[in-house]
Symmetry: C2
Subunit: 293 residues, 2 copies
C-alpha cells in the first residue's frame, strides 16, 4: 500500500475513535481541521519507511507509532500558530485552527491531539507489550521535556539560545523519534536509527529556513519571512542563503550515510534523496548558488 | 508513608527528569510552578487510596499512575487559567502560570505536563507490561476525547450543553480514571472501581459549585463567583444553594456505597467521608441549609 494512503487510513481510524455521539462537536471539527488535509506527512512517512526497512513485523504497531508522531506534530503546529506565538492566519493554505475555530478550541485541539497520540498507542494490540513502553519513552522524549519539540518551542522564550540547541529540540527530536520508534515498532534496534533521524531533522530545518527566505508562499502554504520577522535563530541568517544551501546538501549526504545496514537500506537511501529533492530541488540549489556567486 | 509525602516525592522524581542541563530553564520553572506547591492532590490521593485498598502490589507503578493523573490535572489548570479561558490571575493563592511566566510558557508548560504524564508511565519498570497499556488507555480516556477533561473544557465552547455532560467530562472523567487506574496498577479489576470515581467526581464538582457561590476566596486560593460570571452551567445555579448542598450529601453517600468489597474497603470509606468533610464541612452544610430555610 502507498505509505501516504496507509498513514491517512490510520489517522482516520484514530480520529474516528474521538468523533462519537457525546463528544463536543466543535472540538471534533477543530481536531479534524488540524489533521486533514495533511501536509507532506514527512515524519510518519519516515517512521513507516524505517519500519519497512526493518521488516515491518508488526504493521499495526508501526501504524500506531506513525500516527502518534503525526498527531504530536499537528498539535505542535496548532499551538505554534496561536496568537501568542506566531499568530499565523493560515496553515497548509487554509485558515489556521485558531482562525477557523477560535483560540480556546485551538488550545484544546492541541491538547486533545497530544493525548490522542498516546491513546492511539495505548489501544494497539501487540504481541510485544514490552516494546510499547519503549515506544512511549522514545516518543515522549521526542516531544516533551527536557529536549523534545515542546522544549524547542520554549527556547523561543529564553533570552539566549544557540541555533543548534534550538533546532535540535524544535525539529530534530521528533525526526529522531520517528526513525527510532519506527525501528522499535518493527522489532529493530532503536538506537541504531538515531543518527539518521538527527541528520534528517537538521536537513529539514535547514530546508525550512531556506524556504522561509527564498520560497514563494503559495508553494509552502504558510506565510514566509516569519523567522526573520520574529527574530528567530535561522541557518539562513547565520550562514547566508548560499551557505545554508551548501549546509543542506552536506546534511542530506550525512543522512544517507547514516542508514544502517539492513534489508531495506538501499530503498530507504533512495527515499531520503527523493525527499531532499522535494524540499529543496537541486535545480533550485544551483540557481540560488549561481545568484549568490 | 503518608500519601501526601509519597505523592510529592514521586512528583519531584518525575520533574527531576526534565530539569537537566540542556533544558530551557524558564520552561522548567513554569512547569515546577504549575506543580509545586500543590493543592489538595485529591486525584492522586484517591488513586493511591484505591491502589492500597487493592493491596498495592506494585507501588512503583501505582506512584507513576498517581503522578500521571496529577500532572494531567495540573496541565488542565494551567490551560484553564489562560487569558482566552478563565483569565485567572491567581491559582492556589499564587500568581497563575501565565501571570508569572507569560502566555507562551503557560501554553508550553501545559503541553509539557501532558507529555510528562505519559513519559512517567512509559519509564516505569513493571512486572506486568500488559497492565501498562491498559493504564495508558484508562488515563487517556480520562483526559482526552471523546469524554475526558479536554472534551469537558471544550463543552464551554458549544452553544448548548447539559450540566451532566459538561461536569461528567470536565471533572468526573479524571476521577473515574484515578480510581480505575489505581486499581489496575495494583492488580485489581479496573471496571469495579468506575462507579466510585464517577460519584466522587460529581460530589467534588458539586462542592466546587457550592464553594464558588458561598466560600471565602482566601479559603480556596482562587477567585470565586467565576462560574456565574462566565455563564457556566453550575449545580448551585440550577438547584439553588440548599438544593446543591442536599445533592452533595447524597452523592457522598452513593460514593461510600460504591466502594467494592476488598481488603481495604472500610479504610477507604472513612477516607471518602473525611474528604467530603474537608470539601464542605457538615457544620457549614447545616448553616447553609438553616439560612436558606
Amino acid at each position: 500500500m502507498d505509505p501516504m494512503v496507509r498513514i491517512d487510513l490510520a489517522l482516520e481510524a484514530a480520529l474516528a475513535c474521538t468523533d462519537v455521539p457525546g463528544a463536543p462537536p466543535r472540538l471534533c471539527a477543530a481536531v479534524r481541521h488540524a489533521v486533514f488535509p495533511g501536509g507532506a506527512r514527512v515524519r510518519p512517512k519516515l517512521c513507516l519507511a524505517v519500519a519497512l526497512a526493518c521488516g515491518d513485523a508488526e504493521p499495526e504497531l508501526a501504524d500506531a507509532t506513525a500516527v502518534a508522531i503525526e498527531l504530536l506534530h499537528c498539535a505542535s503546529l496548532v499551538h505554534d500558530d496561536l496568537p501568542c506565538f506566531d499568530d499565523a492566519q493560515t496553515r497548509r493554505g487554509l485558515p489556521s485552527v485558531h482562525t477557523a475555530y477560535g483560540e480556546r478550541l485551538a488550545v484544546l485541539a492541541g491538547d486533545a491531539l497530544i493525548v490522542l497520540a498516546f491513546q492511539t498507542l495505548g489501544c494497539v494490540r501487540t504481541k510485544a507489550p514490552h516494546r510499547l513502553s519503549r515506544l512511549f519513552a522514545l516518543i515522549g522524549n521526542g516531544v516533551g521535556m527536557p529536549m523534545g519539540i515542546v522544549a524547542g518551542q520554549a527556547w523561543e522564550c529564553e533570552p539566549r539560545v544557540t541555533l543548534r540547541d534550538y533546532q535540535r529540540a524544535k525539529t530534530g527530536a521528533l525526526f529522531a523519534a520517528a526513525t527510532m520508534a519506527g525501528a522499535e515498532a518493527a522489532g529493530g534496534v532503536a538506537s541504531d536509527w538515531a543518527a539518521l533521524g538527527e541528520w534528517l531533522g537538521e536537513a529539514y530545518q535547514a530546508a525550512d529556513d531556506i524556504r522561509d527566505v527564498a520560497a514563494d508562499p503559495s508553494l509552502i502554504g504558510k506565510p514566509i519571512g516569519r523567522d526573520m520577522a520574529l527574530g528567530r535563530p535561522s541557518i539562513a541568517s547565520e550562514l547566508g542563503l548560499s551557505g545554508a544551501v551548501t549546509h543542506f546538501n552536506q546534511l542530506v549526504e550525512r543522512a544517507v550515510d547514516a542508514v544502517p545496514a539492513c534489508h531495506g537500506a538501499q530503498r530507504l537511501r533512495a527515499i531520503v534523496r527523493a525527499e531532499s529533492e522535494r524540499l529543496v530541488p537541486a535545480a533550485w540549489c544551483r540557481e540560488l548558488l549561481r545568484v549568490a556567486a
